[in-house]
Symmetry: C2
Subunit: 151 residues, 2 copies
DNA sequence: GTTGATGCAAATCATTTGCATATTC
DNA sequence: GAATATGCAAATGATTTGCATCAAC
């Protein structure tokens, strides 16, 4: 957050919304995660500062932030949604099926693929937050070493 | 389905489950979509044949099918889950943001990207059902012709 | 002072579960 | 006949909403 504070307050205004203490707290909570968070985590984090904040306020604020594009919402595919501060460059997520770990990657590798798709299918991909599942380095190695039966 | 009938019944058996009329209907309903369907559509389709089938049965059957990998569940990112009969080759989905149309693409284009990710990030992508959003050919053209202000 | 935001509680929606009954094997 | 699957109804859990009150402008 820090210097961003000024920024989001302006955006809020421009869209005709008010800058409130709870919205600041909620946005802070999203930033604090520095990566992805769930609604639950945001709620918990905010609660640590102010016990009176209601879940509905979190929902409402998060929706607003997403609408204003201050926050991105990415679907993990496992049902829950990840929220995160909107960064400048598009990026994507790798989620490990085994350990559940997540990492971000830039969109350079994907861009080529997007171009391919565009050329071959006439479809301009504009997904700026892809979530891909698979196995991270550690888990691949783990599997290679201890030969897993039936896998 | 047709000849597949034999196939799924065997798989069912092998896993120690029973072949019931409602499961057949539900699997048929998924096949009938020939593409992706939602639970709601499956329910509606099944209901047309048998009004007594309960939603819970649909949920249970679909879970079972996914577990046995007879049916794939793909997350659209918009909250609802698409179900579809498991095909032989992996493929992915393109969903148009403007018209809502969907198309399937093979995974050739993606495989290269997966390899890239693997090389650069040590992450083995195993997503066999990516859903990507963007603009289909028609909608891209539509936008180009009628110059859309601010876009 | 107005208007919009909040907290609370109740409503809603999708999904799951317990259990008696019906069905498959 | 024994065991599993089904339909029903009730439980759950996450998200949303109505409304009186409170805070921002």
């Amino acid at each position: 957050m820090t210097h961003q504070s000024l920024h989001w307050e302006k955006e809020m205004w421009a869209a005709g919304h008010r800058v409130t203490r709870q919205r600041a707290l909620i946005l802070d909570a999203v930033c604090a995660a520095d990566g992805h968070t769930s609604i639950g985590e945001v709620y918990a984090r905010v609660r640590r500062v102010d016990t009176t904040i209601d879940r509905s306020t979190i929902y409402r604020a998060l929706h607003l932030f997403v609408e204003l594009e201050l926050v991105l919402a990415a679907d993990t595919g496992s049902g829950d949604i990840l929220y995160e501060i909107r960064k400048l460059q598009p990026h994507h997520h790798l989620v490990c099926r085994d350990c559940g770990g997540e990492q971000e990657i830039g969109d350079a590798a994907l861009r080529m693929m997007f171009d391919d798709v565009s050329r071959q299918h006439g479809f301009r991909v504009e997904t700026d937050h892809l979530v891909m599942f698979g196995l991270c380095h550690e888990c691949v190695r783990a599997r290679e070493h201890h030969v897993v039966p039936g896998t």
